[in-house]
C-alpha cells in the first residue's frame, strides 16, 4: 500500500513507541506523518529516528489533546485503573505511579492546549491529590518550564486538585436531569449511548449519539429535569407530526419538488425525535421497574435534610420492600452510613445485617470500607451542612421554605467549593498551595480536577455556574465519568486489592 500516506495520532507511551518502531522497520505505507497527543521525550525521538531506516517519516508533531472533552466545560481521562487512588502507596506502587502519570499527562496536555501555566492548590487530606499536585508542579515549573512559559496574564489561573472521597454522596445519588439520568440509568460512553441490551429497539436506534454539539434539542434540555423533558418532547413530537401532515398534502408539482428537497431534513428530524422518545421511554420503564421515585425521595432526604429516626425508618422500609433492587438497597445503606455514621451505631449495624441478608451478591464489608475511605474524619468540606453554624442555619431556612422539586434538591459539594473560590474564601488550611506558589486576588480561570472521577450532576453545576457570568470561568475534569455503578465497582476493586494485599502482608 505504498501509494497511501499514513497519519498516526498516538499517545506517546512506551508501548506505542515500540509498536511504531516495528512498523517503521518494515513500513507498509509510502509516507508516515506522526502526531502525538502529549509531550515527546527526547529518548523517544531518538528511538524513532533510530528505527526510521527507510526515511518514511515526513513529520513529527505534538498536538496536545490527551484528554476527552465531553462538554464545553467538562473533560475526562477515562482511566481504567481508577480505583488506585483509594489505596495507599505501599499496596501497589507501580500501578499507582502509572495512574498518577496518566493524570499528570492529561492535566499538562490540558494546560498546553489552553496555553496557560496555573497556580496549583490541592486538598490536604488526600495523598493522591498531593502527589499529583507536586508532580504537575515539577513538570510545569522545572522540567519543561520552557514549554510552559506562556504569556503571563495578570492573574494566573488556578488548578485545584480535589479527591472524590471528599464528596462520596454525589456519585451515589440517583439523578433526574436528562444527561445525568441517561448516564446513571443506561450509561453514556464517549457521548454514545448503547441501547442494545434493552429489547425491542429498532436497528437504527441501538446506538445513538447524545452530544450537545450536534443535537439542538439535547443542548436545550440536557440540564432540565425529567418532568420538563417530558413536556418538551411532547411539543417536539407535535411539531414533527404537523410537518408530517403537511408533507402528505401534495397537490401540485411544486409541492412535490419541495417535498423532495426537504426530505433529508425531515428524515433527520424523524431520527432525532425517535431517538429522544426511545431514551425517555426506556428510562421511564427503568424508573417504574426499580421504583426509583420512592427510592430517590429517601435518598434526597438522606443527603439534604431530615432527622435520623425518620431516615432510619424509611431506609428499613425500603430494605424490606421486595421491589427495590440490590444496588438501590446498597446505595441507601451507604448514604445512611455516610450521614449518620456517628449517631446510633446500633441501628447502623442492624442495617448492615439486613443488607447482607437481603442482597445475595453483596460483598460484605463494602459499606465499612467506604466509611474508612470517606468517613466523616476523612472529609474536609462540610458535606451535609452540619458542621458550620452558618450552614446549619441555611439548612433550616431551606427546610422551612420548602423546595421546588424534592428530587433535585441536592447540590454537590463542588458548588460550595466554587462559591468559596468566587468569594476568595478557599481556606489555605484545607487547600494549601504547592511549594511557594501564591495567588493575588481572585483567579479568572479555575480548573478543578477531581481525582477519582466526576459526575454529570457536577458538570451541570459547573455549566450553570458559568452561565451566571460571575467573571470566573470554571472547567471541571476527572479521571473517569462516574455513575453509581462505576463508583461502587471502584470501591469493590479497591477493597479486593486491599484485602489481598493485607493478607499478603
Amino acid at each position: 500500500m505504498s501509494h497511501l500516506k499514513a497519519i498516526y495520532f498516538l499517545r506517546p507511551t512506551s508501548e506505542n513507541i515500540q509498536h511504531l518502531r516495528r512498523q517503521l522497520a518494515s513500513p507498509r505505507f509510502g509516507e508516515y506523518h506522526l502526531f502525538f497527543s502529549n509531550i515527546l521525550k527526547d529518548t523517544q525521538i531518538h528511538i524513532l529516528a533510530d528505527s526510521d531506516e527507510h526515511e518514511v517519516v515526513q513529520q513529527v508533531q505534538e498536538f496536545y489533546a490527551d484528554f476527552v472533552a465531553v462538554d464545553p466545560y467538562h473533560f475526562t481521562l477515562n482511566i481504567p485503573s481508577n480505583h488506585m487512588y483509594m489505596l495507599p502507596a505501599v499496596v501497589d506502587p507501580p500501578r499507582l505511579q502509572q495512574f498518577c502519570d496518566r493524570v499528570v499527562d492529561g492535566i499538562s496536555a490540558l494546560f498546553l492546549a489552553l496555553k496557560r501555566r496555573p497556580v496549583i492548590r490541592y486538598q490536604r487530606t488526600s495523598d493522591a491529590a498531593k502527589r499529583i499536585a507536586h508532580e504537575v508542579s515539577k513538570l510545569m515549573y522545572q522540567q519543561e518550564s520552557g514549554l510552559f512559559d506562556f504569556r503571563r496574564t495578570e492573574v494566573s489561573p488556578l488548578l485545584l486538585i480535589v479527591d472524590r472521597r471528599d464528596d462520596p454522596v454525589t456519585p451515589l445519588l440517583n439523578q433526574w436531569t436528562y444527561q445525568a439520568m441517561v448516564h446513571e440509568l443506561i450509561g453514556i460512553q464517549d457521548n454514545k449511548v448503547d441501547l442494545q441490551s434493552f429489547g425491542k429497539i429498532p436497528k437504527d436506534q441501538q446506538e445513538v449519539v447524545l452530544s450537545a454539539e450536534q443535537d439542538a434539542f439535547f443542548k436545550a434540555n440536557m440540564y432540565e429535569n425529567f418532568g420538563d423533558i417530558g413536556i418538551n418532547i411532547k411539543s417536539m413530537v407535535d411539531e414533527f407530526q404537523q410537518l408530517a401532515k403537511s408533507n402528505q398534502n401534495i397537490q401540485t408539482i411544486e409541492d412535490m419538488a419541495k417535498f423532495v428537497d426537504n426530505y433529508p431534513e425531515y428524515r433527520k428530524m424523524h431520527g432525532n425525535v425517535s431517538k429522544h422518545v426511545t431514551l425517555v421511554t426506556e428510562m421511564s420503564k427503568i424508573v417504574e421497574e426499580r421504583k426509583l421515585m420512592l427510592v430517590s425521595e429517601t435518598e434526597q432526604e438522606l443527603a439534604c435534610n431530615g432527622g435520623q429516626v425518620a431516615a432510619f425508618e424509611a431506609v428499613t422500609n425500603l430494605l424490606n420492600n421486595e421491589n427495590v433492587s440490590d444496588i438501590d438497597r446498597l446505595r441507601l445503606v451507604m448514604l445512611y452510613a455516610l450521614r449518620y455514621e456517628k449517631e446510633s451505631p446500633v441501628q447502623l449495624m442492624q442495617l448492615f445485617n439486613k443488607l447482607a441478608s437481603r442482597s445475595p451478591k453483596y460483598k460484605p464489608g463494602l459499606v465499612q470500607f467506604l466509611l474508612k475511605q470517606a468517613g466523616v474524619d476523612k472529609r474536609t468540606g462540610d458535606l451535609f451542612g452540619n458542621r458550620d453554624l452558618l450552614n446549619i442555619a441555611r439548612n433550616m431556612a431551606r427546610g422551612l421554605k420548602g423546595v421546588e422539586n424534592v428530587y433535585t434538591q441536592h447540590q454537590p459539594l463542588l458548588f460550595q467549593t466554587m462559591e468559596s473560590i468566587i468569594k476568595g474564601r478557599l481556606r489555605d488550611v484545607d487547600y494549601p498551595f504547592v511549594g511557594n506558589h501564591f495567588q493575588q486576588g481572585r483567579p479568572q480561570e479555575v480548573i478543578i480536577f477531581v481525582v477519582g472521577g466526576t459526575t454529570y450532576e457536577e458538570s451541570r453545576s459547573v455549566a450553570l455556574q458559568n452561565a451566571t457570568n460571575s467573571g470566573i470561568r470554571f472547567i471541571l475534569g476527572g479521571s473517569v465519568l462516574l455513575n453509581s455503578r462505576r463508583f461502587i465497582k471502584d470501591l469493590e476493586e479497591a477493597q479486593r486489592i486491599a484485602r489481598s494485599s493485607s493478607s499478603v502482608i
Binding site: 505504498s2 518494515s26 517519516v57 508533531q61 423532495v260
Partner: protein, 353 residues
C-alpha cells in the same frame, strides 16, 4: 489548538544516525534504491497494461524495497474517483458563472438579451453534461471487485454521490428560480398587451352596430386576440411538458432515497398527478381538434359575437321594459303623490283654520 513541531529534531537525529550507520552499507543501499524504481515500473506496467499513469505524479514507488513485485501504484478505481472529483470541481466553478449570468439576464435592459440566453443555455448544458458523465463514471466505481478495499470504495462512492446530488439539486433550484422570475417579468409585459387588445376589440364591436366601419381593422383586432390566446395555450402546454420533466427528475432523485411508507404514499400522489397531467394534455388536444385552427374559424367567431350581441340588446330592452312596468316604480310614484297631497291638505288646513 496548540502544537509543537518536532520534525527538525527528528531529522537531525535521523541524519546523524544515518551517517553513523551508513558507511558500511551506503553503496549497496543507494544502488539498490536507484535501481528499484526502474525495476518496479517495468514490472508493474507488465502486470497492469491498461493502467493510466497520468494522475500519479505524487506516488513514489521507491519506498518498498522488499522485492520488485509489489505494485507501488494505486488501484485503477482511484483514477476514476479523481476524475469525478475534478469534474465536480469544474461543475462548481461553472455554477458560479451561471449564477452571475442569471443575475445579469434578469436585470432590465433595452437590448435583446439573446446573448445572455445563449450563454445561460450553454452553461447549463455544460454543467448537466459534466454531472451526467460523473454519474456514469460513478456507476463504474461500484463494479464488483476484490473485497479488500470494497469498504473504502463504497465510502468514496457515497461521498462522491452526495456531492453530485447536492450539485444537481442546486442547479435545478437555480434554474427554477430563474425561470420563475423570468416568467414574472414576461407576464408583466404580456398582461398589459392582452388587456389592450381586448379593450380595442370591444370598442370595435360596439361601433359595429352603427355601421360598417372597416372590416380589415376589425379582423386585425380579432387576429391579435386569437394570437394571444394561441400563445397562452402554447405556454400552458410548455408548462405541462416542463412539469413532466421535473417529475422525471424527481423520480430519479427518489431512486437515491430510502423507500419507506412516506415515500410510497408520495409515489401514489405522483402517479395521480401524472395521470391528471396527462389527462390535461389529452383534454387540450381534444378541444383544439374540435375547434380546428383558430384562423379558419374567424367568420364563425364573428357571427357568434354578432348574434350574441344582438341577443344581449334584446334582453336589455326587455329588462328595461319590465323594469319600467315594474310594481316598484308604481308604488314609489303613488307614495310620493300621496305625500304631496297630504302636504297640500295640511297647508290648506292651516290657512283655513
Amino acid at each position: 489548538m496548540a502544537t509543537r513541531n518536532r520534525t527538525q529534531i527528528f531529522r537531525k537525529h535521523r541524519d546523524a544516525l544515518k551517517s553513523v550507520r551508513a558507511p558500511s552499507s551506503s553503496s549497496a543501499s543507494t544502488s539498490g534504491r536507484s535501481g528499484g524504481p526502474v525495476i518496479e515500473m517495468v514490472s508493474s506496467s507488465l502486470l497492469h497494461p491498461n493502467q493510466s499513469y497520468a494522475p500519479l505524479s505524487t506516488e513514489d514507488p521507491g519506498s518498498s524495497s522488499n522485492g520488485a513485485v509489489t505494485v507501488g501504484l494505486p488501484p485503477a478505481w482511484v483514477d476514476i474517483s479523481e476524475d469525478i472529483a475534478a469534474n465536480v470541481q469544474r461543475a462548481r466553478v461553472k455554477m458560479a458563472e451561471l449564477t452571475k449570468a442569471h443575475a445579469k439576464a434578469l436585470m432590465p435592459s433595452f437590448g435583446d438579451g439573446k446573448e445572455d440566453q445563449r450563454l445561460i443555455e450553454g452553461l447549463s448544458q455544460e454543467i448537466t453534461d459534466l454531472l451526467r458523465k460523473s454519474e456514469k463514471k460513478l456507476m463504474r466505481l461500484s463494479a464488483a471487485g476484490p473485497s479488500e478495499d470494497s469498504n473504502v470504495r463504497k465510502n468514496v462512492q457515497r461521498s462522491l454521490a452526495t456531492d453530485l446530488q447536492s450539485l444537481s439539486m442546486e442547479l435545478r433550484k437555480k434554474q427554477s428560480t430563474y425561470l420563475k422570475r423570468l416568467r414574472q417579468q414576461k407576464e408583466g409585459q404580456d398582461g398589459d398587451d392582452l388587456e389592450m387588445n381586448l379593450g380595442g376589440s370591444r370598442s370595435q364591436t360596439e361601433d359595429d352596430d352603427f355601421g360598417d366601419i372597416g372590416f380589415s381593422e376589425h379582423q386585425m383586432a380579432k387576429l391579435r386576440k386569437s394570437e394571444a390566446l394561441t400563445a397562452e395555450r402554447e405556454r400552458e402546454i410548455q408548462q405541462v411538458v416542463q412539469s413532466v420533466n421535473e417529475l422525471a427528475q424527481i423520480m430519479k432523485d427518489l431512486s437515491v432515497l430510502v423507500i419507506d411508507q412516506v415515500i410510497s404514499r408520495f409515489l401514489a400522489a405522483i402517479y395521480y398527478c401524472v395521470f391528471s397531467a396527462l389527462g390535461i394534455i389529452l383534454v387540450n388536444a381534444v378541444l383544439s381538434s374540435k375547434q380546428g385552427t383558430i384562423v379558419d374559424r374567424i367568420d364563425y367567431n364573428i357571427q357568434n359575437v354578432a348574434t350574441t350581441v344582438e341577443e344581449g340588446l334584446k334582453q336589455l330592452q326587455k329588462a328595461e321594459r319590465t323594469q319600467k312596468q315594474g310594481g316598484m316604480v308604481m308604488c314609489a310614484t303613488v307614495l310620493v303623490i300621496m305625500c304631496l297631497i297630504m302636504l297640500v291638505l295640511l297647508v290648506i288646513k292651516e290657512i283655513l283654520f
